[in-house]
Amino acid sequence: MGRYIIRRVLWCFAMLLIVSAAVFFIFYVLPSADPAVLRAGRNAGPQQIAAIRHSLGLDKPIWQQYLIYVRQVFLHFDFGYSYQYNVPVRQLIFSRLPATIWLTVGAVIIWLAIGLSVGILSAVKRRSILDRTSMTTSLAFISAPVFWLGLVALYLFANDIGQFPILPGQGSYASASTVFQKAASMSLPWCVLAAATSAVYARYMRASMIDTLSEDYIRTARAKGVPERTVIRRHAVRSAITPIVTLLGLDIGILLAGNAILTETVFNIPGVGRLLYNAINVSDLTTIQGITLFGAFFIVFFNLIVDIAYAYLDPRVRYS
């Protein structure tokens, strides 16, 4: 097991290098704004722009810029300065991570709770009204754009502009100081973000359960006289949940990498997703790079966790 982990960690590094090179390349190929001009401000003469370009290191050849960047990141954990905000990128990202982590953790808990239970119930009571209703509802939630769902939620339930003002609305995370206030400000975003995902998980879990319930060992368990509830819980769910674990790892990694951008935008949560989006709009390459690398790291890391978890869950895997 230890060798396996070491191998995976090395692969993680290689991946990060590849990702950073790809971002560099993409940035130079696609037409984006010129950061030196952006930074130079209004009416800057060519000399001033050139001076800024030089101070930002943008006049060096691309491969050299890349090498300098890689050295800074991997040796000094220094991601450079944001062109836009003029603060270290690392500081910027770390200041945004808590909000994204809040959002991710809460949403994960909710969507697992709802998605898995709905999926299990639907599978056990296949073709019942409960099953058909829940699958149709889940389809609706998967199809609804997150942004729209968020706005609808705000206009319905936000305590400042909603029809039924019960939950904190836009921008409430920023003004929250206690843990309870922060959690309250996250309640609408959690629900919105969890809505579509729990629908996906419900469908996956249902399919996985239906597959599992047709396995021979379920028949054996019943033949042993094990109560049906226990058959479902101990025998069926335990097997059906392993593919979900893989999905979950990826989903968490992606969310931490900033994929909750739409939710963060609608609810004005100062998280990593918004930061990335703003950075793209103003061609703040260092920030884009930094977030992408962090994101790649999270995804790779959670993939590793998932693989280890899988080995723990499925004993057959340990010996391959």
């Binding site: 037409p31 984006s32 704004a33 010129d34 001009v37 952006l38 930074r39 130079a40 401000g41 209004r42 009416n43 800057a44 003469g45 060519p46 000399q47 001033q48 722009i49 001076a51 800024i52 101070s55 930002l56 290191g57 300065y81 944001s82 062109y83 836009q84 905000y85 003029n86 603060v87 910027l92 200041s95 945004r96 706005l151 705000l154 206009y155 400042d160 502009i161 609305g169 836009q170 921008g171 920023a174 003004s175 935008t265 609608v266 004005n268 949560i269 100062p270 918004r274 930061l275 989006y277 703003n278 793209i280 709009n281 103003v282 061609s283």
Partner: protein, 623 residues
């Protein structure tokens, strides 16, 4: 003089944030101008021809003086879409940034909310003495002004403000780490400026000495100019650039590369100071404990201001402000749907102020087909400018533009006021809903016998990709198509639109539909010089703001001479004349003179500073 782009610190719905420096059209500010200048006869703006404008504005008037009985205390929350462009006052360029800066900084000159004729002494003890036929300006500064505790903690600066601090504040703007956009512009005639620019090229992390700025003693500062452009310089000394920065404190931050970090550690002298700055998230202002109340004209009612950023959906943000308490808008204004809602349901919480800005569709005069003036006239003639204005919300969003000087700027009336320049040679501008027949006649004059384009009729247009700018581009495209042009429209991000296409001379498409300009001061020079002076093209070819690339020697000459006129009436008349000359070239389609639509919560008593059309944080109070 500022284009509508905000280069850094800009996130998506940039056009929601109408940056403006405005003057209430009805307000005849000549009453308080001690310098004897009238603001270009704006007192007549409420008469006859601009009645539509005046009527709209009269329904939602802005309060421009501190209301009687305004109470001290409370916290004001300003909802913002994006961040300030620079937290460093030496680099700030963005109007909403000025909302903050004018509350925390004390430049030599300042603008009381109801007086836009000329700036008033702020840090200066009195109006400066101008000698040597307008080439020497001498200021005395107030004594006993102290700096606030530093942002970010640590040891601040306990010594009081001295004139050397102002000299350093201006000089540091030359460093690439403090990219100030004004120095080279307004202070171009400062003696020793070019030597200083050369010096900073050699040592970019040390602020150079500008020999034209001298400080004979700690309470006096003297500016020597090579040309008599004192009016412009005095105006420019109302910018945050001249708010004092002590070298002993700031130098260690100014040496940092790639940019100075002074902004994140700044010390302030205004009635407020910045206590917290989280980029992209919030800015917190609190009362400056070292500020002596009454030392200048700012009353400073609220105790605390929180600028909360990240509100990307204008409609819900405006809704939040209107239905909540203690809130105002920061860098966006009510537009479209939210403007309608505010106007109909919360009229008392909405104010409309002329923003002192224009928007136009620039036609690239340097390449075919728009290098032919008749084609350009045809395009303007066919344009339904009311339809263009509708993309921003219709009549509530601004006045229909007929030339390039908006209401409130000296030269507006002289250029024709709301109706625009009179005369047969301006017939193409007098059809606000478009006139196809007239357009076709111009096309025929241009050599297209059918009245529509034939042959090579493909033209390129680069626009912003967010509404309402993208909507405006679509309308413009349709209007061009009606003359037989095939428009290739490329919507891109705002920043890309400027820095890769429209502001790059070599790369500019045929049409740039989302450009415009906002005044820096109430002066014609601030409005039409840079955007239409041929000299801009060569001065910064990759950052060019003369989007039509107009290079008419007569106009260039006139502009270059006009900035030295000191008599206000003559100045206004001359700029009005030049505006008409520009209109006559049909280089661009002017379509709106924006109003700044500000909203506030019910318990807020907002005071709008007519200078920039934004809420003045030092005058606003909460109940």
């Amino acid at each position: 003089m500022r284009s509508r782009s905000r280069l850094l610190g800009v996130s998506v719905p940039v056009l929601l944030a109408v940056v403006s420096i405005g003057l209430a059209a009805c307000g005849s500010s000549s009453k308080s101008s001690s310098s004897g200048s009238s603001s270009g006869g704006s007192s007549s703006s409420s008469s006859g021809s601009s009645s539509a404008v005046a009527a709209a504005l009269a329904k939602y008037p802005a309060v421009v003086t501190a209301p009687a009985g305004a109470a001290k205390g409370g916290t004001l929350t300003a909802l913002s879409n994006g961040d300030v462009d620079y937290i460093d006052p030496g680099a700030a360029y963005y109007q909403p940034t000025y909302m903050v800066d004018l509350a925390v900084d004390s430049p030599l000159m300042g603008w009381p909310p109801n007086d836009t004729a000329a700036p008033k002494p702020l840090l200066a003890a009195a109006m400066p003495v101008v000698t040597d036929s307008g080439k020497t300006i001498t200021f005395k500064i107030k004594p006993n002004i102290h700096y606030s505790p530093p942002l970010g903690g640590g040891q601040g600066w306990s010594k009081p403000v001295v004139s050397q601090d102002i000299k350093y504040a201006i000089e540091r703007g030359l460093m690439p780490g403090v990219p100030n956009g004004y120095l080279g512009l307004y202070f171009a005639d400062l003696e020793g400026l070019s030597q200083a620019q050369a010096a900073v090229k050699k040592t970019p992390t040390k602020a150079p000495d500008i020999s034209g700025i001298t400080t004979p003693d700690s309470s006096t500062i003297v500016f020597k100019l090579s040309k008599p452009s004192s009016i412009g310089v005095i105006d420019a000394l109302s910018l945050p650039l001249s708010s004092p920065v002590p070298e002993g404190y700031a130098a260690k931050y100014d040496t940092k590369t790639p940019s100075s970090t002074y902004g994140e550690h700044q010390i302030d002298v205004g009635p407020y100071y910045i206590t917290n700055y989280s980029p992209g998230k919030q800015i917190v202002l609190q009362r400056n404990p070292n500020y002596t109340a009454g030392s200048d004209f700012r009353p400073a009612f609220v105790d605390k201001v929180i600028v909360q950023e990240g509100f990307s959906d204008t409609n819900s943000a405006v809704s939040k402000i209107l239905t909540g308490s203690d809130m105002i808008n920061f860098d966006f204004s009510a537009t479209g749907q939210s403007l309608k809602v505010a106007a109909t349901q919360y009229p008392k919480q909405l104010t409309l102020t002329p923003a002192g800005g224009n928007r136009y569709i620039a036609l690239n005069t340097q390449k075919p087909p728009f290098n032919n003036i008749n084609v350009r006239k045809a395009v303007i003639a066919v344009s339904n400018r009311e339809a263009l204005r509708d993309t921003r919300g219709g009549p509530l969003a601004g006045g229909l533009a007929t030339h390039f000087t908006p209401p409130g700027i000296p030269g507006y009336q002289q250029a024709g006021g709301a109706a625009g320049p009179a005369g047969a040679q301006y017939d193409f501008i007098h059809h606000p809903t478009g006139d196809l027949a007239l357009a076709e006649s111009y096309m025929k004059k241009a050599g297209y016998s059918s009245g529509k384009c034939s042959g090579n009729c493909t033209i390129t247009m680069v626009s912003s990709n967010v509404p309402p700018a993208s909507d405006t581009a679509q309308v413009a495209k349709a209007q061009l198509s009606s003359l037989g042009f095939t428009v290739q429209l490329h919507p891109v991000e705002q920043a890309v639109m400027y820095t890769k296409f429209c502001s790059v001379v070599a790369n500019e498409p045929n049409v740039c539909p989302n450009v415009g300009w906002i005044k820096d001061f109430n002066d014609g020079q601030a409005m039409i010089d840079i955007p239409f002076n041929g000299g801009s093209i060569t001065a910064s070819p990759t950052n060019n703001s003369n989007w039509p690339q107009l290079n008419d020697p007569t106009i260039n000459n006139a502009l270059n001479q006009a900035k030295y006129i000191t008599d206000p009436t003559q100045r206004a008349a001359e700029y009005g004349k030049i505006d008409d000359m520009i209109t006559a070239t049909a280089a661009a389609i002017p379509w709106i003179w924006d109003y700044e639509a500000n909203v506030s919560s019910k318990n807020v008593l907002p005071v709008i500073n007519e200078f920039n059309g934004l809420t003045d944080l030092s005058y606003t109070s909460v109940k």
